[in-house]
Symmetry: D2
Subunit: 279 residues, 4 copies
């Protein structure tokens, strides 16, 4: 006969004497299939890497790790911003915690048409979402995209008789929401329109001519990219659509074996989200 849970000691529930509150404890590096609603309708089926954590008061020895997985498995067949809230609520309830955290990253796939031939294909963008829910109902969210695009060096163009070095850049945008939902696609649009040129899944020769000339006509330092994105995000900050933003660009320089990097950060990130990026 198998043992029943009630017969087995529950070490986690024993009292702890060290007097140390644990900021965050839980499970990390869970891979899980999700479906995400898209701005233009429909869903994007994808795979997320997920972490979930709660605060643990000093007098409890341990949390119950299996309950995190139960909260996830019951809730995220189709994950959407409202469902993240449901998972966090369930974590607060199941684990009797003051604060619950959920952090996930996943690629999304958006249709992109070639600029001349209009041949369409899917392009991938790395997205992230961090949510924090407190027992008093305070709910705080950071939305994040990583968008690859092309950058062409203004200095190289100016000083050279012909040509200019260009390369793939990774533009990262993070915003803290201000109530209103911010679509990943809106942030992707901001990143793409402020690079020297967007990337495309399919380019025939007329398209390749277009993007080559477009990038040459539109040179940008790594500083220009983050400033031009910041101009758009500052407008959202002024309109109180967001409470905070971070934008960086990392240019995989085609003339060096290291990268060029810049970032601009404005607004209030808030103490609720401060612990997320440390490990």
């Amino acid at each position: 006969m198998q043992p029943r849970a009630s017969h087995l000691p529950d070490i986690q529930k024993t009292p702890d004497e060290r007097g140390i509150d644990i900021d965050e404890v839980g499970v990390s590096n869970i891979r899980y299939p999700i479906a995400f609603p898209l701005r233009d309708g429909g869903f994007c089926h994808t795979v997320a890497t997920i972490s979930m954590r709660v605060s643990l008061p000093h007098y409890e020895k341990g949390t119950h790790m299996s309950r995190f997985m139960i909260a996830l498995q019951e809730k995220v067949d189709v994950l959407s911003p409202s469902r993240v809230f449901d998972v966090l609520s369930e974590l607060l309830r199941l684990l009797d915690a003051d604060t619950a955290y959920l952090d996930m990253s996943f690629p999304i796939f958006l249709k992109r048409e070639a600029p001349v031939t209009r041949l369409a294909g899917l392009l991938d963008f790395e997205c992230g979402f961090k949510g924090v829910l407190k027992k008093d109902g305070t709910y705080d969210k950071v939305v994040e995209v990583r968008v690859n695009a092309a950058s062409l060096c203004p200095c190289s163009k100016e000083i050279s008789a012909y040509g200019a070095h260009n390369q793939r850049s990774r533009i990262t945008i993070k915003v803290r929401e201000h109530g209103e939902l911010i679509w990943f696609e809106d942030l992707v649009d901001i990143a793409e329109r402020n690079a020297s040129c967007a990337l495309f899944p399919i380019l025939k020769r007329p398209d390749e001519k277009f993007v080559t000339e477009r990038a040459y006509d539109n040179p940008k330092f790594v500083e220009d990219i983050v400033r031009d994105v910041a101009v758009d995000l500052l407008a959202m900050l002024r309109d109180e659509r967001i409470r905070y933003f971070f934008v960086s660009s990392n240019n995989f320089e085609s003339i060096h074996n290291h990268d060029a990097y810049a970032h601009v950060e404005r607004g209030e990130l808030g103490s609720l989200l401060s612990g997320f990026s440390h490990d």
Copy 2:
């Protein structure tokens, strides 16, 4: 007015004088959403990393990279073994090549029940598929899974008064098909039943007791894991269900900062697939 492709020179089609056939040329590191049929019915929506290549004869300067993406985008809404064949056929046709290669890896998610409480959740397994199609119709395939499982050290158990070190292990199985389709799930089963214990997404205390004791009752060296898997695969080789196998186990030792590793390889991999694993 935009230029038309017919007005733009096609450098790729110019003749090449170096006299060097290119073994494989194409596109790599494409991320793409796919849906894969499961052995027990239904589909697994997931995200693949894909490479596609063709052979290029010495007298042609270059291949046409956009056609790879066109072949993929038209074919793989729901990718299945027969669809990979379709993509490869399309590559042969669009690129007028002698040989076409497709290589992809992706996680799949399978339902796993806790051994005592029967609480169910999804567990992820890394899969791979390599296909080669020649103009004469020869079609060759290698199927691959990477399964994480628990291993418990027989030496540590034997020499210690109590306890035994154990750890997560990554078991890799690759088989070359012999006509018949081999399900990823069949290979996952072989890996899981030959480890000290399988992994589970959700374990309550009665389950945790079960898996702890199961692993202790079933100690395995890294050598034991690959030999026990090999016994099962040798049976498939004798039955001509497969033409080749490779099995390795990499144990993330809990007492060291390096890993223990072993592999066994039998049968004929075949020259068609020899170039795949070099880069």
Copy 3:
């Protein structure tokens, strides 16, 4: 005849009208050989991944990327804490900046003896260093180590008739210095002594018996590891040896395919270092 720099326009120096100060701009992902002094004497030759950045006022279009590499190449034959200060000073001077940042990570190798046979070998630990220097001379530093060790589950031990699951854990400690130099080795010691058992490069059978039994006698939840490390770090905080600490443990669970995680953070990180961990 080659052009001279003085004849080529300097686009970076042109004025910028967007009115946006850039928090940090520079170079990242530089790999570079370094030699680091060890607490017990001698140097550890190793390879660092380095980023360097400065603040850029709104009225300047761009920074001069080559000067970062020049500052590095001239200074870091043998990198030590005082040399990082020199590189940062040189960045402030060469780039006429208000603030300069240097961020690097690298493995160090420390001798470890097997607990019974005393066979010695080298064990690797991942280290990091972040330094910020302002024009007014303010110098702020964060020191970081990532130590792999063994953890054995108290619940699994308590509820099982025999055995207990155990695994490799990665313990991360970050401290903000308070004037006094903190050795990486001191933080490594704290991490190792608070795990269920340390790792070793070489273990013969009598050693393996020792570490197996030692871990079984010393079970620790992920919560226990971060609390026990926190007790040691709180003492350093009280003594004003440090101004801030962060400790996390990530346990690569041998019974799951995901990890268990916890962290504790105390003290003041300070605004100077807030931008580091965002990308």
Copy 4:
């Protein structure tokens, strides 16, 4: 009193009844500091990731993992090709094996001067070495480099009114030695001179003008890079300096989010090295 090894049972030495020879068994993912002799004199201190394996006959249950680490720790203070031979010899002796394998990868740092200003700095290249020693004295070696360089697209240049897309490429060269030692630096030279332009650690404006124009004057498809490298390696093959080569280029396309790839392989890799690249 501590137990002595002679009192503890040696499970690894018990006979095995499954009848399965193990191709390779040992330790992997060891990080270790090494010093490597350079072609132009002096040593490069760096950090290697090392795997070591031996064959295991069907009648032995297990190998002795600690002996691998002992063989390494005694031998590789300053690793050189002759020292790898010593480690392999020691593995054959300590483990009474028929075949011993050592596989390692590490960055090396070479001085590079800017093309106009001659400012010098260190540039990193990823290297690898695989050695196999058999009991009968047969010693086989594969040497490998990964060199990043710039590629500029001939099609983009030809069809565009101005500019041309360019990007970082990773060129991989592997050669099987034919008795004679092949320097990593010789292979690096071959890769760099066959790209559109080499990379540099420090570039002032006159240098940036030079490399921009050099790449534009020297456009290369991914096919051109591997063919031009292959021409050089075919000459070494004809001269019997090497017995086999593999060259690939992976171009991180600045207009796409995927890469362009090509490879050429010639000569005989040999059965001794066939098992290396599978996992």
